[in-house]
Symmetry: C2
Subunit: 117 residues, 2 copies
C-alpha cells in the first residue's frame, strides 16, 4: 500500500451504523485495502447522543467542535487537538451539546468487520 493523504472533503459520510441520530462516519482506509487499521472522519451534529460498547480499539482525534465521552468512571470533555482513546470492551456514551464536532478516527482492527449493528 502507498502513502496516502486525506482531507475531510475526501470522506463519503454515511450514518453511523446502529443509530438514527445525526452522526456520520466516512472510512478512508479499511478492510478493503489490505492493511490492519481503519482510518476515517466522523461528523456529529449538535445535541446528539450515541452509546456503544467498543468492538475494537478506537482512537478519536477531535478536529473541530466538542464532544463529551462518558463511561461509568466519569466524563471526558474533548475539544480541538484532544485525543480520546476508547479501548475494546469499554461502553461509552458520546454526546455533543450546543455545537457539533468533526473528528478523525483510527481503529484496530477494522470496526466494520466486527460491528454487531
Amino acid at each position: 500500500m502507498k502513502v496516502q493523504k486525506f482531507s475531510p472533503s475526501d470522506a463519503e459520510f454515511s450514518r453511523s451504523p446502529g443509530q438514527t441520530g445525526d452522526i456520520y462516519v466516512g472510512n478512508l482506509v479499511d478492510e478493503r485495502h489490505g492493511g490492519p487499521i481503519t482510518i476515517g472522519y466522523g461528523r456529529y451534529a449538535a445535541n446528539q447522543k450515541l452509546t456503544e460498547t467498543m468492538a475494537v480499539d478506537d482512537v478519536m482525534i477531535v478536529l473541530e467542535g466538542r464532544v463529551a465521552v462518558s463511561t461509568t468512571a466519569g466524563t471526558h470533555i474533548a475539544g480541538p487537538g484532544d485525543i480520546v482513546y476508547m479501548p475494546k470492551g469499554e461502553t461509552v456514551t458520546i454526546v455533543t451539546e450546543g455545537e457539533g464536532a468533526l473528528t478523525a478516527y483510527v481503529t484496530y482492527p477494522h470496526w466494520s468487520e466486527v460491528h454487531e449493528a
Copy 2:
C-alpha cells in the same frame, strides 16, 4: 484499560529516535499499557527533515502547521485536519518549511518495540 482523554500538554516530548533534528515525539499510550496500538503527539520545528522506512503502520493527523510527506511516488502537503497514512514498509521523507507542525499519531503495532534506531 479505561477510556482516556489526552491533550498535547499531557505529552512528554523527547527527540524522535535516530535523528538529531528538532523533531519530538511523546507517546501517551504504548506497549507499557497492554493494548495493541501506540498513541501520541509529535512536534516538528520549522525547516526540519526526517527520512524513515516505516517499521509499522503509522497514521499522522496534522493539528497545527504544515508538513510535506514525500515518497518516490510524489509529495503530499498536509495541513490542519489532514491525515497522512504511512503504511509499513514505505520510505518517507517528512519536511517542514517555514512553519513547524503539531501532529497526533496512531501506530499499529507499537513503533518503539520495532524501531531499529
